[in-house]
Symmetry: C2
Subunit: 296 residues, 2 copies
């Protein structure tokens, strides 16, 4: 079926399809993480299996009538495997400030926006299990596009984990466009870099933004595939290492790694710094910060 | 003696007097903190008394020939009372980038600068002993001025500690100018505020900048008095609480408080964000971050 043969979806249909998918993906991920908790026999399996708690939040009360929407944060804390995971879904609309509108595609003509997305950060008990970040989103101004990505953050990087994570997203990209993986990998490397330390934040993955090829279905299919790929490869890497014991020195290394991770998020991450400085939902934005970190 | 009767100091003399004072103050503070460690009989007195280690650093190798100078970091870790204290002195010179020069008094005409100062952050083992920050500096562009301040950061604030800290700096200010305390207290409250959380970072103190009354000796005397006042009141507050035991819940509160402290430094603090984004000495800049922090 070529694009021409399809009935064009209305913008409202696109918004609904995207936000319904992000909710569906949230459910799939929470299920797979809770399944890991239930079956784990690792070093902390004397703990109760971790479960997500859901907390809805509302944007309306922070703003005047032209802003609205909200989201749901799902948080699991103190599990057998997951030390702290936050999965936030949100669907919001509003008006960019003139200063911000200048930097957003399609917003200079009309500063109103709609945004729906899912954002996830997982911090793990074991320093041998990589932490991870994943986010996908659909943004509408006078233009509209998908963006997102996933990146691995192992305190003790392991070549085969890194290779498997990248290969999963290479295969994912290749199913849609032979250029996607290399382009989105390079973008990820560029974005998750900590200039003041001269190091990458983690082992990379993919990052993409302003994806609008003119074929909504194709762009949406890629974004869905990124989510499904994440929910396949990451649980596999967790399962691979979750029963290993670890040393105190490895845990220290993890806590220091998390300090650097927090530095990136608070100093450079555009979503975090923009959100904090423009009255976003602080709890949802700072959900990404590690449960414990060290700067010894 | 009125200013008119004094021989005016050359700018080089002013630079030397200021930087010699910051070094002298560093020695006085390190001595008083080490004396606390030696005599402490508190909950962690089975540990070896903490001692400062000094580490010189050099700015020259990071820059071209027009930049230079350096400093010395004094760090005490894992003491009986002090969990991590950094005291950094530095005397540097260079040229501001055109973009930065616009925001610095006297630098638009000529972007060359000289800066000498002392900066201190103390993070304490006990959640009942307040943490603290202190910094004083002398900056020279085509203009020259003093700046600095000190602010208290108790995870479990205590009215009499807060009052005593403020009264010490009120007395200090009053010895120099009856307007200083209220003005510099208000400036501190304004600066150490965390907008995204809608809370102050700590219990305040004083903050001042661009102090040049036309009388170098008077301005220098105030800056010296701020340093001496700090080295009197803060050790007194430490001594007051250092032998108290604390609960696990109080320690948790402290670690969360430190998370918020780190947020301020990484998101808002001008010295930190400017330093990180312009190739400053990362170790010296991030010395302020807490040894351990939580975002539960």
């Amino acid at each position: 079926m070529t694009p021409a043969s399809k009935a064009e979806l209305s913008l409202d249909d696109k918004k609904h399809k995207a936000s319904a998918w992000f909710k569906d993906l949230r459910n799939q991920i929470c299920d797979s993480f809770e399944a890991i908790e239930k079956t784990n026999k690792g070093p902390l399996s004397d703990r109760k299996a971790g479960k997500f708690e859901r907390k809805p939040w509302d944007r309306t009360d922070q703003n005047d009538g032209t802003h609205g929407g909200g989201g749901v944060m799902s948080i699991m804390r103190g599990g057998r495997v997951f030390e702290k995971v936050g999965v936030n879904i949100s669907t919001v609309h509003g008006t960019f400030t003139p200063e911000f509108a200048k930097n957003i595609a399609g917003a200079e003509e009309d500063p109103r926006f709609f945004a729906t997305g899912i954002s996830l950060v997982a911090h793990m008990n074991s320093p041998r299990v990589p932490a991870v970040h994943m986010n996908t989103r659909f943004i509408v101004t006078t233009k509209h596009w998908f963006g997102g990505g996933a990146d691995l953050n192992a305190p003790l990087p392991n070549e085969s984990d890194t290779a498997d994570f990248h290969n999963a997203f290479k295969d994912c990209g290749d199913r849609h466009n032979p250029d996607y993986y290399l382009k989105h990998k390079a973008w990820c490397d560029e974005y998750f870099y900590i200039p003041h330390r001269g190091v990458a934040r983690g082992q990379g993955g993919i990052f993409y933004d302003q994806l609008n090829t003119g074929d909504f279905d194709a762009d949406f299919a890629y974004t869905q595939d990124v989510g499904r790929t994440f929910n396949t490869i990451y649980p596999a890497l967790v399962t691979r290492h979750m029963d290993d014991t670890w040393t105190e020195a490895e845990r220290e290394r993890q806590l220091e790694y998390r300090g650097t991770y927090a530095e990136f998020n608070l100093v450079y991450d555009r979503g975090t710094t923009f959100g904090l400085k423009t009255g976003g939902n602080v709890e949802a934005i700072l959900m990404s910060l590690p449960p414990m970190a060290k700067w010894p």
